[in-house]
């Protein structure tokens, strides 16, 4: 498999904080790769650096060999990167269909054509029955799927999904996992996903990259990574921390 996305020695500093520290990894064409790590590990920041929301302090990102770093977010989208937001950003006053239509208009300038495409994408994410609703009226799980639909409608080469399973019930998670797996299998869509829900990570990804405090501490097949002592330590650490908080005085 050829490499589609390359993240090369990426670093980002916020004042004193090194949110992302010399992180490198790559995503092969047609693969599903997961980016995991405890809260504040720098996962969303890595996405933002890829998507051109902010410039990195060092390193660069390439898509199929082409340098993305330095491009604006809309140019990164045009290059073939579709992304969702962890804190969902629906176009609240527009209908569900129009939300996705806006994404589809990117590569399909004709309204009728774009609308047809938008409806197809909505069907794929099982939002068809909701398409005439105002987006702000959707439930959180629906809004997460709307994020995916809108990004997918731009017809990207790679889809960046930031915690789209968070807040979903197990059955809903399994359903979305299935949808994403079908998408990957049927269209060859490459996916890079940030996820806390390990059940989804294990089911979907062929490779997992683990970040902690901005540093890549492990990478490999899902089974390898969860057996990695460094990963276990990090996750136990955060589990202990939250446990202490819960039983605090």
């Amino acid at each position: 498999m050829t490499t589609l996305l390359e993240v090369d020695n990426l670093s980002k500093q916020f004042r004193g904080l090194r949110a992302v520290s010399n992180v490198s990894f790559s995503v092969p064409e047609g693969a599903i790769v997961a980016l995991i790590g405890p809260n504040g590990a720098g996962k969303t920041t890595t996405f933002n650096l890829i998507a051109g929301v902010m410039p990195p302090n060092e390193g660069e990102v390439r898509l199929a060999g082409r340098r993305l770093t330095g491009l604006r977010p809309d140019q990164v989208c045009a290059a073939g990167v579709g992304r969702t937001f962890q804190l969902v950003k629906p176009f609240g006053d527009l209908s569900v269909e129009d939300n996705v239509l806006v994404g589809a208009l990117h590569r399909r300038p004709r309204i009728a054509d774009a609308r047809r495409h938008a409806v197809q994408v909505l069907e794929l994410l099982e939002l068809g029955p909701k398409r005439h609703q105002i987006a702000r009226g959707l439930t959180l799980p629906e809004r997460k799927r709307l994020e995916v639909a809108r990004a997918l409608a731009t017809e990207p080469r790679i889809l960046l999904l930031d915690e789209v399973m968070a807040g979903l019930r197990p059955t809903e998670t399994d359903r979305l996992v299935e949808v994403l797996r079908d998408l990957n299998r049927d269209t060859g869509m490459t996916i890079l996903l940030i996820e806390h829900v390990m059940r989804a990570v294990m089911a979907l990804s062929s490779r997992v990259v683990v970040l902690d405090h901005g540093v890549r501490i492990s990478e490999g097949a899902p089974a390898e990574v969860v057996a990695d002592p460094k990963v276990i330590e990090v996750y136990l650490g955060s589990a202990l921390e939250s446990g202490e908080e819960g039983s605090g005085p």
């Binding site: 998507a51 929301v53 604006r72 977010p73 809309d74 989208c77 045009a78 579709g82 992304r83 937001f85 950003k89 629906p90 176009f91 609240g92 006053d93 527009l94 209908s95 269909e97 129009d98 239509l101 806006v102 994404g103 208009l105 990117h106 300038p109 309204i111 005439h132 609703q133 105002i134 809108r150 990004a151 409608a153 731009t154």
Partner: protein
């Protein structure tokens, strides 16, 4: 044109048709005073529609739209007075000047990521600079005012926009309907959807590939060009221009009241708002005067109260509420082709 009013129910279409017919017939039954009041109403509806492109569609607040009115007015008036060129040619110069001014303000504001209130302040600043500059341009009368030769009120010379109140009335009526049709088209175009996306969430808009700088700049330029046409009309209707008045912040505020009260981002809001507000303001002024009271700022006070009432009771504007209650428009889910973003 077939999709021009597809949001309206049958009842809404009938109401709109009757309304349009009534407006067309006004000069046949109304006296001079009524014609002049409705002319004013339509002027505010037209300019409000133009402002709405920027604020209601693209979400960019301008509180300096008097700048574009003034540029349109002075450009066309200068051509007419100094070179004898009529307003139908003058509008092009007016539109050019206003579009250029809009492009400069937009470039400055959007390039340096000046957003929201700060952007609004920038628009005010430009209108103010221009007012002060025009105070000192002797060729255009400076602060003493610039005057157009008053035409023959009885005749009609449409080519120089000199003539009877009915002529002016039909010109502004055509502008109002033209602006409505144009805005409707824009809203259903690719750029229109991009504007709505930017209005709703700029970051998300950018993430789906929208060049937000370009899209916002286009909104400002179209809005400015449309507004300047209102300025041309103003110059030839009133025949006198004073920088103090035409570029004033007060005028900028007055311009946005109709869409704010009618419903920002809606197509009929600016028209509806103008028809509520201007006659009421006239009525209040008339009432106060006939009661023998001397209250010079009464109109402004009335506008202020109307604004407060709207912000408190109907922040989305009066039109969406009225349209819903009188069933003039389709409700979400009524009809498969309903699109929530383009509010009628």
């Amino acid at each position: 044109m077939t999709t021009l009013f597809d949001q309206l129910t049958a009842r809404g279409r009938v109401a709109l048709g009757l309304f349009a017919l009534a407006l067309l017939a006004v000069p046949f039954f109304a006296d001079g005073y009524l014609i002049s009041v409705i002319t004013l109403v339509l002027w505010f509806a037209y300019v409000g529609q133009a402002w709405n492109v920027m604020m209601g569609f693209a979400g960019q607040l301008s509180l300096g739209h008097s700048l574009y009115v003034g540029l349109g007015a002075y450009a066309s008036a200068a051509l007419f007075v100094h070179f004898g060129v009529g307003p139908w040619a003058g509008v092009w110069l007016g539109m050019l000047a206003a579009t250029l001014a809009g492009a400069i303000i937009g470039t400055l504001g959007f390039r340096f990521a000046i957003r929201g209130v700060h952007f609004a302040l920038l628009t005010i600043a430009f209108a103010e600079f221009t007012r002060i500059a025009f105070d000192h341009i002797g060729w255009l009368g400076g602060s003493g005012g610039f005057f157009l030769p008053v035409g023959d009120a009885a005749g009609a010379n449409p080519f120089d926009l000199r003539g009877s109140p009915a002529l002016f009335y039909y010109v502004i009526l055509a502008l109002t309907f033209g602006a409505l049709a144009l805005c409707r088209r824009l809203l259903h175009s690719r750029i229109g959807y991009f504007w709505l996306a930017i209005r709703e969430d700029q970051e998300a808009a950018q993430a789906v590939g929208i060049d937000v700088f370009r899209a916002k700049l286009i909104a400002v330029m179209i809005s400015a060009a449309m507004t300047s046409l209102g300025g041309v009309f103003y110059a030839f209707f009133y025949n006198n221009l004073f920088p103090e008045q035409i570029f004033s912040v007060g005028r900028s505020i007055e311009l946005i009241l109709a869409p704010v009260i009618g419903g920002i981002g809606t197509l009929f809001g600016p028209i509806f708002g103008a028809f509520i507000l201007t006659p009421l303001a006239e009525l209040v002024t008339w009432g106060v005067e006939s009661a023998g009271l001397d209250m010079p700022g009464i109109k402004q006070i009335f506008y202020g109260l109307a604004l407060v009432a709207i912000v408190v009771y109907r922040p989305e504007g009066v039109w969406p509420w009225v349209a819903r209650h009188l069933r003039l428009v389709h409700q979400p889910g009524d009809q498969p082709s309903h699109r929530a973003g383009d509010r009628p």
